[in-house]
């Protein structure tokens, strides 16, 4: 990345094209973490054992904190209050990849939840590998405050990754049923995972301004890591992941995201002026 380094929010604001590309990217980062955290939070009380409830909740809380930090940068860029950005936007304004909005399974967490742990483990694991590559690239971002934030997030994110790596490897090497569930999870995750690497309608500008490296490059690094992990656990490589019909980075989403947002923001929307 050879683009000029911008040290401050004011410098970014002074260049409207740069600012647009930067805000688009920040929405992708924030919305991915927010929506996946929401899905994680729905597992509370339903995870396989109490230690996992503690661990998954902690990861989810920390990841939601990462989303909050990205929304904080957006607030600084004049996009509105961070809390409003998380709670008040309609689904078509969100820029998360479709993979993170898929429900955990059938039912509702309060009503007959038939959640799929195999799917969840695979989704979390491949997302964390993706996030690691994305943060790594962001440490070299032309926007200095984002590069600094990414560097600070890395050591935290390593713990998240380690957790899902452990689950993936233990289930893949466990009973035949566990293995089958992991394979079924891989199959479902692969129908959407390609969408993670899309940088959306402003992708070219995002790359040209040196905000992050090209999505294809991230996909390449991700593939190398995931392939190695699959090989180490004798999980057959399913080929490159697909992107699916909808492009979340362009604001196209499933109805599942709409209901997730309604639930996530229910209390906030009752009284947006309340002080939390």
């Amino acid at each position: 990345m050879t683009a000029n380094r911008l040290e401050t929010v004011e410098q970014a604001k002074a260049n409207p094209e740069y600012r647009t590309a930067l805000t688009e990217l920040l929405y992708q980062l924030a919305d991915d973490d927010l929506v996946l955290s929401f899905r994680g939070s729905e597992w509370l009380g339903l995870a396989p054992h109490v230690e996992e409830d503690v661990a998954f909740s902690s990861i989810t809380q920390d990841t939601m904190g990462h989303a909050a930090a990205f929304y904080g940068l957006l607030e600084g860029l004049g996009e509105g209050k961070a809390d409003d950005l998380a709670h008040l936007r309609e689904a078509n304004r969100l820029r998360n990849a479709i993979l993170v909005e898929r429900p955990n399974g059938t039912g509702h967490y309060l009503n007959n939840p038939r959640y799929d742990w195999g799917y969840t483990v695979v989704r979390q694991y491949v997302y964390e590998i993706f996030k690691q590559e994305r943060l790594e690239s962001l440490t070299r971002s032309s926007f200095a405050p984002l590069a600094q934030l990414a560097r600070k997030m890395r050591p935290e994110q390593r713990y998240h990754l380690l957790h899902w790596q452990t689950w993936f490897s233990q289930l893949a090497n466990s009973t035949e049923e566990a293995r089958q569930r992991i394979m079924a999870g891989v199959e479902r995750v692969w129908t959407d995972a390609g969408g993670l690497f899309d940088l959306g309608p402003y992708g070219q500008a995002i790359v040209n301004f040196g905000l992050i490296e090209d999505g294809a490059l991230l996909a390449e690094r991700w593939t190398e890591k995931v392939k190695r992990a699959f090989e180490a656990n004798s999980v057959p490589w399913p080929g490159n992941p697909q992107q699916g019909q909808l492009n979340g980075r362009a604001g196209q989403h499933t109805d599942d995201l709409k209901s997730a947002l309604a639930e996530l923001a229910e209390v906030y929307r009752l009284a947006p002026a309340a002080n939390w």
């Binding site: 230690e51 661990a55 600094q148 560097r151 957790h163």
Partner: protein, 161 residues
């Protein structure tokens, strides 16, 4: 003028010792190494504050506590807390006093240097015959461990480097 500014700065550091981590109330933000710099310009005070974890839900509370604590100081009209990610907070920044206070609170401190092996000593009896039961604990920064000697469960701060 310099003497006045110097006095306020010293007083600010003293007052910051009274701002505790809401989740570990025995240890101050200074002992945790969370204060990067104190900048004083006349009656305006800027605290450069380094979060231990980006996702720590206690950040807003600590920020507010800093503002409340310092606003009461004579000669201070305005307190601003700025989050600093670079240089980033690492476990190395926890002071020796801070480490001792963590132990007294029942939390094993993290290794003091990035190259140190993460060996968890029991904060109660000092034994190194411990197991890491859950990498994740009641807060993002903590893990749950168990001492096989004195048979106490305890928490350990995760190394952040």
């Amino acid at each position: 003028m310099t003497t006045v500014v110097g006095t306020i700065e010293g007083e600010v550091w003293k007052q910051l010792e009274n701002v505790k981590d809401p989740e570990i109330p025995s240890i101050s933000v200074v002992e945790m190494g969370m204060i990067h710099r104190v900048l004083v310009e006349e009656s305006h005070v800027v605290i450069e504050f380094m979060p231990t974890f980006v996702g720590c839900p206690a950040l807003k509370i600590i920020e507010q506590n800093i503002v409340d604590q310092l606003s009461a100081l004579p000669g201070v009209t305005n307190v601003q807390v700025e989050l600093v990610f670079e240089p980033a907070w690492t476990s190395e920044r926890i002071s020796e006093t801070g480490r001792e206070k963590l132990r007294q609170f029942g939390i094993a401190p993290p290794p003091g240097k990035p190259e140190d092996h993460w060996e968890i000593a029991c904060p109660y009896c000092g034994s190194r015959d411990t197991t890491l039961d859950n990498l994740f604990g009641p807060a993002a920064c903590r893990s749950i461990a168990y001492c096989r000697d004195c048979r106490n469960p305890f928490e350990a701060l995760k190394p952040i480097y």
